[in-house]
């Protein structure tokens, strides 16, 4: 083979090889996925997926949202309550906003500290728990007393009043304290006591709710144990109900329910975080039905409990029930008050 022939073959090879190499390079760049768009490619064992439970927890609600949500007017709403005239009270920041039946803001009351919990008595006296203090205001918003809960690291997360008794739930110290209206401590309830068969409260996150039922017993959430416990005013544990399940009939996650309210018929309306859902149980703790599930409550099309860390940590909704049986949900994700009514009533 002469030199000329060799040169021709080499030229031809170069002519073919160069475009092929360019094509390979372009294809490689095209498929390289430096932006991570193809996902983690780890396989389904590595995916955390509760969308099935979220969808299942959203089916066949007994309630329906009956009107447009009400904006709370607060940056960081913490608690909701209703009074005897069905006015809605929302507490947060350093304020309590009061809305009337027409969803109009009728009054804003400045508090000394940031309120985390709220109770409105029959005479419309307002009790607000701020850090370690109970602040009391009359129906016009004038200061009407208050006292300090003398415990270090106190985080007051719930208040209930019955007669001369004021009960406060202290998530920081994992106890319920019973005071009289003068602010004198009468009893500490719920501390671990083997002899009295009291397991103690397990409160992994700062949600610890209580209420007084019509049977005269105190109902306290024990979120780490997924239970609602019934105590006498003297601190004897009478009974409890509730169990763990991500199925709709139980309480999901590490620590639920976060908050609850009671209806005039003695039913319990509970709020859960994680799989954000609001449900109704009868007075014995038997599941009755759903008020709203993740699909109705969480702002995502995929029915997952939360997408971003902020969303995940904001699922601590609060709930109240008014005299007409309407369920008032304080939605911390949308910063609104949402009102749900039984479907047969709405239609």
């Amino acid at each position: 083979m002469g030199n000329n022939e060799k040169k021709v073959i080499t030229d031809k090879l170069i002519l073919v090889a160069v475009p092929v190499l360019i094509a390979i390079a372009v294809t490689a760049i095209y498929y390289m996925d430096i932006a991570g768009e193809a996902g983690n490619k780890l396989g389904k064992d590595f995916n955390y997926d509760v969308s099935k439970q979220a969808v299942a927890s959203s089916e066949n609600p007994l309630y329906e949202e009956s009107q447009s949500p009400i904006t709370t007017g607060l940056k960081n709403p913490r608690a909701v309550a209703v009074d005897i005239e069905n006015n809605i009270y929302v507490a947060g920041d350093s304020q309590i906003n009061i809305f009337n039946n027409n969803d109009k803001l009728i009054r804003g009351i400045k508090t000394k500290g940031p309120p985390r919990c709220l109770f409105i008595s029959k005479d419309k006296t307002i009790y607000a728990g701020t850090n370690n203090t109970v602040e009391i205001y009359d129906s016009s918003g004038k200061e009407a007393g208050g006292f300090k809960h003398e415990k270090a690291d106190a985080v007051l997360t719930s208040i209930a009043v019955s007669g001369d008794n004021i009960f406060v739930a202290d998530a920081g110290n994992r106890l319920v304290a019973r005071y009289n209206k003068k602010g004198e401590l009468l009893k500490v309830i719920g501390q671990k006591d083997k002899q009295r068969n009291i397991p103690g409260f397990s409160i992994p996150s700062p949600y610890f709710d209580l209420a007084i039922a019509d049977d005269g017993l105190l109902r306290v959430v024990n979120p780490g144990r997924h239970k609602i416990e019934a105590y006498t005013f003297n601190g004897d544990l009478e009974f409890s109900w509730g169990d763990y399940s991500s199925g709709v009939e139980g309480f999901c996650g590490c620590c639920n329910p976060v908050n609850f309210a009671m209806t005039s018929e003695g039913q319990f309306v509970t709020c859960e975080k994680g799989l954000v859902r609001v449900k109704v149980y009868d007075e014995d703790g038997k599941y009755i039905g759903l008020v709203a599930g993740p699909e109705q409550l969480v702002p995502t099309e995929k029915a997952v409990p939360c997408e971003t860390p902020e969303q995940c940590q904001l699922g601590g909704f609060d709930v109240a029930v008014d005299g007409n049986g309407r369920v008032i949900v304080m939605d911390t994700l949308h910063n609104t008050i949402r009102i749900f009514e039984k479907i047969e009533i709405v239609r």
Binding site: G36, Y48, Q53
Partner: protein
């Protein structure tokens, strides 16, 4: 009277050599001191922006990702039913593999006192897939989170996991404070 002393070429070269050696020694020392004082920058994950997508496990140039799960005990609820440790529907609250969320078995559960349990990360097993982070953030206090461990990280000029992060949660931080820790007051 002082005698005029002639310096030979050899002496002059010797003195110049000594001078140059002294100057270079000073320069090297100064440079080392200056480098020690000046902070460098390293890659780190902002746990408050991280969406636990799992890309850190796959896109790191290292065969075993430099990203590991870390635990802020200060924020942990020490739950019996830890949603970072257990599957969403565990059969039983024990350490059986079928109940554990971590596919690599990298979380150790230790009884503290009724009803509290402590959870520790075994970094040699953790691949940084963030499955536990997602479970803990969704239901719990968010005390489990991801960090780039600098004993492994090559500190590439262009970090591949930073490019592949959909939340843009990975950024350069000063080597004087190379970790962004949750719950650190």
């Amino acid at each position: 009277m002082k005698e005029n002393k002639k310096i030979s070429r050899r002496d002059m070269l010797r003195m110049a050599g000594r001078g140059a050696a002294g100057v270079s020694l000073l320069a090297v020392g100064g440079l080392a001191f200056w480098k020690k004082q000046k902070p460098e920058y390293v890659w780190q994950i902002d746990p408050y922006k991280c969406v636990s997508c799992g890309n850190c496990a796959s896109y790191c140039v290292l065969e075993e990702s430099a990203v590991k799960c870390v635990h802020a005990f200060e924020m942990c609820g020490y739950c019996d039913l830890c949603t970072g440790f257990f599957e969403p529907e565990p059969r039983k609250l024990d350490t059986g593999a079928e109940n554990q969320l971590c596919p690599a078995g990298a979380i150790e559960r230790k009884f503290v006192e009724e009803p509290y349990f402590e959870y520790n990360i075994n970094e040699s097993l953790c691949i940084g897939c963030a499955k536990c982070v997602k479970g803990c953030t969704a239901f719990g206090n968010g005390s489990l989170f991801l960090q780039i461990r600098h004993d492994r990280c090559l500190n590439c000029n262009e970090c591949f996991i930073a490019m592949a992060c959909p939340a843009r949660a990975i950024r350069r931080v000063s080597s004087n404070k190379p970790y962004i820790l949750k719950g650190a007051s």
